[in-house]
Amino acid sequence: MNPKHDLCWMIGGPQGTGVDSSATLFARSCAVAGYWIYGRREYHSNIKGEHSYFQVRINTRMVQCHIDPVHLLATFENSTAELHAFELVEDGAFIYDPKVTNPENLELPPNALKFPIAFDEILEEVSKTSGKSTTSLAIIKNTIAVSASLALCKIPFSAIEEALEGIFTGKKSKLVPLNVQAAKLGAEMIEAHPDFEKYQHVMAKPLDIPEKGSRYLLNGATATGLAKLKAGCRQQTYYSITPAVDECIYLEDLSSYGLPVIQCEDEIAAVNMAIGGGTTGMRASTSTSGPGFDLMTEGLGWAGINEVPVVVFNYMRGGPSTGLPTRHEQTDLLAGMFSGHGEYPRIVMAPGDAVEQFYDSFEAFNYADRYQTPVIFISDKLLANNTVCVPKIDDRDMKIDLGELAGTDATFDEDNPDLPAALAKFPRFAVTDSGISPRALPGMPGHIYWMTGDEHTEFGHITEEPEIRMAMHEKRMKKLDRAAEEIKPENQFVVHNPYNEADPEITIVSWGSTKGVILDAMKVLKEEHNLSINFLQIRLMSPFPDAGVAAVLKKAKQCIVVESSFGGQITQVIAMRTGIQLTHEVLKYTGRPISETELVAAVQDIKNNQTRKVVLSYGL
């Protein structure tokens, strides 16, 4: 037997039966055992009953995307067996409950190994020990399926024990013993099966066991949540929407950090409350998805003309309209860059993975304050929901930038103020060479000013004078030039060239969450197909790094755009900003993310056949 370095495990079931928990347990157990994991979550817009599934990829190196072939399919009910049996590799294994599933009825590969697990017998045993009814223990089937899977891959039993202790903490810790008992019985049952030693996809030993506490099982929603705490965000407003709500729930649970999470009547209220909060100098933000972002555009224009810092997080999902509410897509790029009437300077950021999402989210608040303007942060369902194992984030020496603030008078006597001085007006919107006017905040004596969505004077009063309009508009728009100069080049775009290719045959061009699958596919394309390849990842959409991107593209031999969309939005943006029309695209708009398997094949297709547009469609 030749132990493997890469394995795809899948579990599924009706929503509400603990699929997420079992995947969390499996991923955590593998991580505890020293492996790196990538977890992909797929679910319907439904509370209970519809099919959901979770793929966990285990690897001895860090992995950042999913693959299509399934090496081990774990089920405890029939729908997953029926839907996913065909995805199993030739020598894969299938774990099932013989009471509900007959493997003869499935599209399993002929040589797949079949491991029946008597879930009910195990529940009976646990019921005897714990005194709980088998009905109330039904959720433990997840633990059994996970434990049998781990045993089959030869991952030590201690890993699931430790993972259970990590998941069931505090009041829930009393659930550990019965879960451990169920896990033990599940492992014993599969080990006793005559085919147990025939399974080929046992995991190679981890390359090294990372120190305990040195890694995170992170997703993008959590990464942004962490960053908001770090950045001193003190107001999170939201209206419930998938998948942005995960971030809000995470933050609301952390009440000791002092961040009020305010549920609003709609996204219009959410954005305008955040802007209202932002006028006071407090850092505020709101998180939403496409439909909610659409409702926020009028508010963002107001923040733009009034130079109020606010950060809006848009977790893209399948559109238009309600579209595919729980599925992945990258189709709000143009909305993020251009939505709304009129012109105002906006910073638009798009991180590529959960770690970037942490640092970019933190920086978004700095940009908002420094440039006194809305920052639109584009993430998506894939980043929000998929879990990646990463080294613990280094959050030391992270610098806060509040931008230019007007000073207060230290000699001011609150109790006996010099009234004329305290009532003095302040030219909040003073025209400056830099485009940035020092901010004063309501509450500051001697700095009274006004704000209005109308064009305004330096004190914030309405004007329609052409000269003032020009000066004010130019002053505001100038902030984009300054941002383009000041934002670090690596935060604008990155050319990934892991194999130091001098003159790569292929340059992949993309943005956002495709980063993971592109970097992983590049390894395969290089190591297995000897293709020389680099990757232009665009991270800042406004101000767009025109010159830098154009320079990279002009040097490239063959560009391939990769995006989860129908229309190739980044292709359009690049044409508009640089005049360069890219002609080859890999696109997917099924609502499912692009897999490494698909991308490796698509890049070869374009290289060998000059296919202009490869449309991907794999996955349920």
């Binding site: 909060g277 505020a284 020496d397 109790d415 009532l423 006004w450």
Partner: protein
């Protein structure tokens, strides 16, 4: 009253609250009276103008903040309460007064109007109720009654009207009053009580639009009407009519229900006369009070003051606890 603002020792004069911007409202507009009363109320309460934040929506009345010498924010159509809520939650020290028209508050902003009542933040909302959209040439606002036809309408109003007092009651406003733009004394006193009330206060101010509303004019409000054979002024005060809207014991469900029923009945009463005064007032925890219970740090710091960086501007928040559940 629980209200305890950090007040000025020396009283302000109303004229110190006037900004140097000239208003562009039509001559005879009720907006003048309301703006003047807002200035008078702020002065009489000795609120610090730099800790007072006047927030408006869009429309003629949206310009109010520009004419008042406090911090001012002229926001989007219908959204003043959302902006005001964000500011008040951030910095509870600010006295936040939202102001806007009936179209702004009861029409496009109706959703925010409803939910501001639920939240019951310590704010005041002054609605300029003139039954028309003046700035766009006099279309019917949500308070114009069905079948009424001011001269600006081509046909009688096909929609029925909303009842702001009854709506506010349903939404959880804890101070609900009505006043009249040209009754300066009553309006100033009502605004003062509304600002002093710790909770979400609505002051619905009846206001003539001299340009488009030829039905409910200054003369209309000044007329005498027949009441059981005697001629009486059209405008009267609830308190002179034996009406008391104040809930004395906010723990007493029966008293609350009685006062609510009384308010609802009076809000819907069909009469020639127009009643001004406090329809309903009760004590109830504000959203911020509840947040303070849920989030202990907010008892020590307002959100705007909660520290998060050191003298070198390095972020100080320790993420260990936040990351504990997914640290491996």
């Amino acid at each position: 009253m629980a209200f305890n603002p950090s007040l000025l020792k020396a009283p302000l004069k109303g004229k110190q609250l006037k900004s140097d911007v000239h208003s562009d409202w039509c001559p005879g507009c009720g907006d003048f009276g309301i703006t003047n009363s807002i200035q008078q109320a702020i002065a009489a309460l000795s609120l610090k103008p730099w800790e007072t934040f006047l927030v408006s929506g869009v429309g003629c009345s949206g310009k109010v903040p520009h004419y008042v010498h406090t911090y001012g924010m002229h926001t989007l159509h219908g959204r003043s309460l959302a902006f005001a809520t964000g500011a008040k939650l951030a910095n509870p020290k600010l006295t936040v007064i939202a102001a806007g028209g009936d179209g702004d508050g009861y029409g496009i902003g109706a959703g925010h109007f409803v939910h501001a009542g639920r939240r019951n933040l310590d704010m005041t909302y002054v609605v300029f109720n003139n039954e028309v959209y003046g700035l766009t040439k006099g279309q019917a606002s949500p308070t114009l009654k069905q079948g009424e036809q001011p001269k600006s309408l081509a046909l009688p109003n096909p929609n029925s009207s909303i009842n702001p007092i009854a709506l506010a009651l349903s939404c959880g406003y804890t101070f609900i009053a009505r006043s009249y733009a040209f009754d300066a004394k009553h309006l100033k006193a009502t605004l003062m009580k509304a600002i002093e009330h710790k909770g979400m206060a609505l002051v619905d101010v009846l206001q003539p639009c001299p340009t488009y509303n030829n039905l409910h004019t200054k003369d209309y409000f000044a007329e005498m009407v027949d009441l059981g054979g005697t001629q009486v002024p059209r405008v009267y005060y609830l308190e002179n009519d034996g009406y008391d809207g104040l809930v004395q014991d906010s723990e007493d469900i029966d008293e609350i229900n009685t006062k609510k029923a009384q308010c609802f009945e009076r809000a819907h009463r069909i009469e020639e006369r127009v009643a001004l005064g406090i329809y309903y007032q009760v004590k109830r925890p504000t959203l911020f009070d509840i947040l303070q219970k849920n989030i202990p740090l907010l008892n020590d710091y307002a959100p705007v003051d909660l520290p998060y960086y050191d003298e070198n501007m390095i972020a100080t928040t320790d993420l260990t606890e936040a990351a504990a559940s997914f640290t491996i």
